[in-house]
Subunit: 365 residues, 2 copies
């Protein structure tokens, strides 16, 4: 018997509703298997701001640092549009990423066969699509200093953000991408803007050197990030693993997610480096979609991305491959049986609630 | 009778081939109308590097500053992959934009009805699409300092790029977007990452203030740039004018261009501020596509984006609206007659050469 600890941070909007379904999946494992998951639940985002005046409290950060894996819902909503910059809901998410040192963000873009028609792209362009975006998550323009707005006189302000990358940051994310490619179709496409950005020049140089030093068996391709966005729309199946920086990764993974027509279905993992002593790595799992304030509280949100994020935790934090497969197959089976939440239903077709979808997935397990 | 001066900079790759077709359109106007276009031709990009060791020579810059409008082909190719950063082909393009102060980049993404099926998106998603991306072109991370790679010891390098925006830079590009929206469907969507970037915060603030001060009749909407990328893929027809910064504009306009299935068809304009004395504005017109080294020299490139760029020059530099309409209708007519270069032909269908397409367009004029 093994014990796994989790910290659940449902956050705002639909975050709380879809996290309920993860709790039911956890209960299923505790009940039906000899695995034991224990969890605590806490606040993040707007909910944390309302309670503590910070988007994530120090006490919550301590729990996040101590747990085996954080399961994160979504943050933000119009209610907090006016709060100060440093305590806006997203600041909680960014602090978790930064303080847990979760530099590697894995964002699979998979087109579920049952949903190929939900995409705005033609069926043959997206059917069977399976790409993995590996996004650097603790560097770049998200965290570089200076990052400020100053008054420069004459009624003028000046805003500055700074993109910074050091060799080791690029090296370690490239290694993650190459390692993952070896478990897939063995190809990595690195994207940057070396024709305009010095960070792109260094990115290109370090990825190339990492490839040469340790991964020559993997096919490596370089693409300018703007061309990469184009190619994602033109023929996404040309890609296997894409490795890119924090900001390009943000943009490109959203475009890739939308290609699949399955935004409500896509999970992500944010991983730190393995602890040299224990081999354990800090990690946080979250859906790619946001808090969807427009449908929050109605019980109609799609819980699949959230449940699939828990499956990623099983796979990447606990090496419970069989169990991860079980959850993922149950999701696919529920879809094959025709169950659809509103976001993935065809116009006029019947839809199920968040809880009904959760129940259907549990039934398939 | 009026005289217009042009500087043609064909550049590299297919740039030289497609510029030939513009020359034929110019000859047609000189021949058949009482307008007179005179032009000089010069080098830019890799071609300029080979001749002068710079991606654009000082002498060429002087001509560009003196002419009424620059017509630019495309730059770059594998031949120059190894040249020093400061003289890489793109540096010529960037210097032209910067030194001519072409802060407003207009990038229409139009889906030609005859080509709706060439898109990877479903016909109903893109048919009739007509959006205009207004990209800031002389600021942001493209030109901010510091921009450097330094040695920080222990085998580590550090790359830094700096995104800088001042109030006036945002104000003037927002005004361009609002003015253009008034001539279209009266809606502007502003895109930034205010949840992560201080420049996004200022961008949002200044666009909002500009709207309030002078454009309250135009509908203004704000969208995070990553969500904007998603929405472009999901339902692009929700947009009319999109205004965004240099780097997001680069990414988003490429995605938008690819949606239309008409990349080889899309022109762009880069405009400066009107001269207070003469009312004239400096301007450069160029296709959205690149130099396509893989098909260069074969005479098969699609000249439409290049010819449509010349049409934009007629419209924006010379206020020759009727003449611009004439060229644009001739392009549409040639397409309606079924003429296709390789890039827009269906598999197995007959294709025409660069010159044949040019001839067909001239015939329709
Ligand atoms: C919420 C926001 C700060 C975040 C980001 O920009 O990283 C989100 O867009 C994401 O992709 O996870
Ligand atoms: C060639 C390159 C420097 C340029 C840019 O990044 O602006 C191009 O991608 C464009 O969009 O005009």
């Amino acid at each position: 018997m093994t014990d796994y600890n989790l910290l659940l941070l449902p956050g705002d909007g639909i975050g709380t509703e879809i996290m309920e379904e993860v709790k039911r999946v956890i209960a299923w494992f505790n009940d039906k298997t000899d695995l034991t998951f224990t969890y605590e639940e806490d606040l993040v985002g707007g909910a944390a701001y309302d309670a503590h005046g910070a988007a994530v409290s120090d006490a919550t950060m301590e729990k996040a640092l101590a747990t085996d894996a954080v399961i994160f819902g979504a943050v933000g909503g119009p209610k907090w549009d006016g709060v100060p910059y440093d305590v806006r809901p997203e600041a909680g998410l960014l602090r978790l990423r930064k303080d847990l040192k979760l530099f590697a963000n894995l964002r699979p873009a998979i087109c579920y066969p049952a949903l190929a028609d939900a995409s705005s792209l033609k069926r043959d362009v997206v059917e069977g699509l399976d790409i993995l975006i590996v996004r650097e998550l603790t560097g770049g323009v998200y965290f570089g200093e200076p990052k400020e707005i100053t008054d420069i006189g004459n009624g003028q302000k000046r805003a500055v953000d700074t993109q910074v990358y050091d060799t080791y940051e690029i090296e370690r994310i490239a290694s993650v991408a190459f390692d993952l490619a070896r478990t897939r179709r063995n190809k990595v496409t690195s994207m940057e803007k070396r024709n305009v950005m010095k960070s792109g020049v260094l990115w290109n140089e370090v990825v190339t050197a990492t490839h040469k030093a340790s991964y020559e068996d993997v096919t490596l391709e370089h693409m300018l990030a703007d061309a990469g966005g184009m190619q994602l729309v033109r023929w996404p199946k040309q890609f296997d693993v894409i490795v890119t920086d924090n900001l390009f990764g943000d943009m490109l993974s959203d475009v890739a997610a939308m290609l699949t027509g399955s935004l409500g279905m896509l999970p992500s993992a944010a991983l730190g480096a393995p602890d040299p002593a224990t081999g354990r790595r800090k990690a946080m799992y979250e859906p790619v979609h946001g808090s969807a304030p427009d449908i929050a509280g109605k019980g109609i949100a799609n819980p699949i991305a959230m449940i699939a994020s828990f499956a990623m935790a099983l796979r990447y934090s606990f090496e419970l491959t069989k169990e991860a497969d079980l959850v993922e197959s149950a999701i696919a089976a529920a879809l094959d049986r025709g169950l659809r939440t509103g976001d993935i239903a065809e116009a006029g077709a019947p839809t199920v609630s968040t809880m009904e979808m959760g129940t259907a997935i549990l039934a398939e397990m």
